[in-house]
Amino acid sequence: MKGNIKQISWNLTKYISLLIGAIVVLIPPLVVLFSSFKTKIEYLNTDKLSLPDSFLNFENYKVVFEQGNLDVAFKNTAIILVISLIGNVIIGSCVAYALGRFDFKLKKVILGAYLVAIMIPSITTQVSTYGIITNLGVNNTLFAPILLYLGADVLMIYIYLQFIESIPKELDEAAMIEGASYFTIFTKVIFPLLAPATSTVIIIKAIAIYNDFYIPFLYIPSEELSVVSTVAYKFMGPFGGEWNVICAGVIMIIIPTIVLFLVLQRFVYSGMTNGSVK
């Protein structure tokens, strides 16, 4: 009987804790969702938790889409994302194949260089990186963020390196007996087997790049090169007094990621778990 009461109260604690957690997470964005359907007068005169008069008032969305430069931002973000992700996958898998499957003179040096690199967070080196990007003449072009997403973070190398260890070398040897070239072994045997690492890299990097503010803010300040983060940052200028419009913009920016997340949940979780325990 005593055990039963203990069990019940623990169960109750569990659900209450989770409910409180869920409410704390949901309330701040829900308020923004409500506000995005409110008119300016309604926004100023009602309290934040109250529901809007109508959930069909899309006026704010129209305003923010027409004047907020969102279409440009989504396009630029997509370009940067696609090129950076493909580049990350190619670089990560190629380096992992070269370092994971071959022994050569400089191997230790290269591994050491990557080890040093992982200890240099890119946020600390921006003061000098800025000069390099300027000297290369790519400042204020989409090349700047792409190059930095490819070169200033070496996480993908580690994810691939760790994963390639788990692919048995006998597979390479079998392919060699059949006369396959190293390149064929890479493209036809190794790369397909690296798929879990590839999905991990894509998910971690996609979230990081879509949410990154620092690099686009520093390197692509011009209007027509806006990405999602910088365009959101600029909302506070033209719509400064109209938080209901800003709210619509915020919702438009977080909706795509939430939808993608809900669809790809399983992969996102495993990506996060694989990527962190390096």
Binding site: L18, V31, S122, Y130, G151, Y182, F183, I258, V277
Partner: protein, 311 residues
């Protein structure tokens, strides 16, 4: 020889893929070509955008440079001296303590929720998705959401008045005694889900049989947690701890967007960015970056060595 083979292959079929032709090159040559072509671009990127900037940073930290002029004047240690005699610098490090505290709280919350979600529970996936969701949200969007949340007429004050705690209402972001708590809790809100998923992944990898055996042996819930769960997540917990510490020192986005560092919420990275890009003092900013780099680098190195020692 290779040439003849090459031609005969070409003749045999134009549809034949490249792989039929390559084996005629010896594996030794192939190896050289492959290593070179697979590594040259990644290594160039690594050197140009990670290693060289770090070295350059050390050099710049001993100069006075406005970021544009071709000349950089050598000033020795004076940038470092300026940092250490500037009392503002200490307040910037004090600000990190709020994020450090917040980060620790976040880890314990994440562990608590991970244990809950790993137990028998209804709607597990719904709770899991909700608690993780902030992590995938755009950082600027989060900063805007919480600017509204903490504004004088905002969500938090509305809730406080609803439950009759009007006396606790504050201008959260405008009050220098409260602003860092507000910002650090925003940071907890954003990052808790990631730690939660990582902990949960480790918890789920503990075989269920061990828990069952413990139950049969009459182990209490707390003892099971203490002697089975805790030891298995120790390594991941430490890893998260390191990330929390370096994250606390290098926090940037949330305070930069929400307060621009006003009301005593200035952080080290905001201050560095301002020094370089607002006040065009790249030398001083480099010296600040070097200090940050050394702190974060030492922490990471320490953790790596610690892990290695134990393996």
């Amino acid at each position: 020889m290779a040439n003849i083979n090459y031609q005969s292959t070409l003749k045999s079929s134009i549809n034949k893929s490249i792989r039929d032709r390559l084996p005629t090159i010896s594996y030794k040559t192939q190896r050289k070509i492959l290593l070179f072509s697979f590594l040259i671009v990644p290594l160039l990127l690594l050197c140009v955008f990670t290693l060289y900037p770090a070295l350059q940073l050390f050099y710049l930290s001993f100069t006075y440079w406005d970021g544009f002029s071709p000349t950089k004047d050598w000033v020795g240690f004076s940038n470092y001296r300026d940092i250490f005699i500037n009392p503002e610098m200490f307040s910037v490090f004090k600000t990190s303590l709020y994020y450090l505290g917040g980060g620790l709280l976040q880890l314990f919350l994440a562990l608590y929720f991970a244990v809950l979600l790993n137990s028998k529970i209804r709607a597990r996936n719904v709770f899991k998705s909700i608690l993780f969701m902030p992590y995938i949200m755009n950082s600027v969007a989060i900063a805007l959401i919480f600017t509204i949340f903490f504004s004088p007429e905002g969500t938090l004050n509305t809730i406080l008045s609803l439950v009759g705690l009007d006396s606790l209402q504050h201008s959260w972001l405008g009050n220098s005694n409260l602003v860092n708590y507000a910002l650090a809790s925003t940071s907890i809100w954003r990052h808790m889900g990631l730690s939660l998923i990582i902990f949960l992944g480790v918890l789920q990898s503990i075989p269920k049989e061990i828990y069952e055996a413990a139950k049969i042996d009459g182990s209490s819930g707390w003892n099971t947690f203490r002697y089975i769960t805790l030891p298995s997540i120790k390594k991941v917990f430490e890893l998260n701890l390191i990330l929390t510490v370096s994250g606390a020192i290098s926090v940037f986005e949330i305070p930069f967007i929400m307060t621009k560092g006003a009301n005593d919420s200035m952080t080290f990275v905001i201050s560095t960015v301002d020094t370089a890009f607002k006040y065009s003092n790249f030398g001083l900013a480099s010296a600040m970056s070097v200090i940050l780099l050394l702190i974060v680098g030492t922490i990471t190195l320490g953790q790596r060595l610690l892990l290695k020692e134990r393996d």
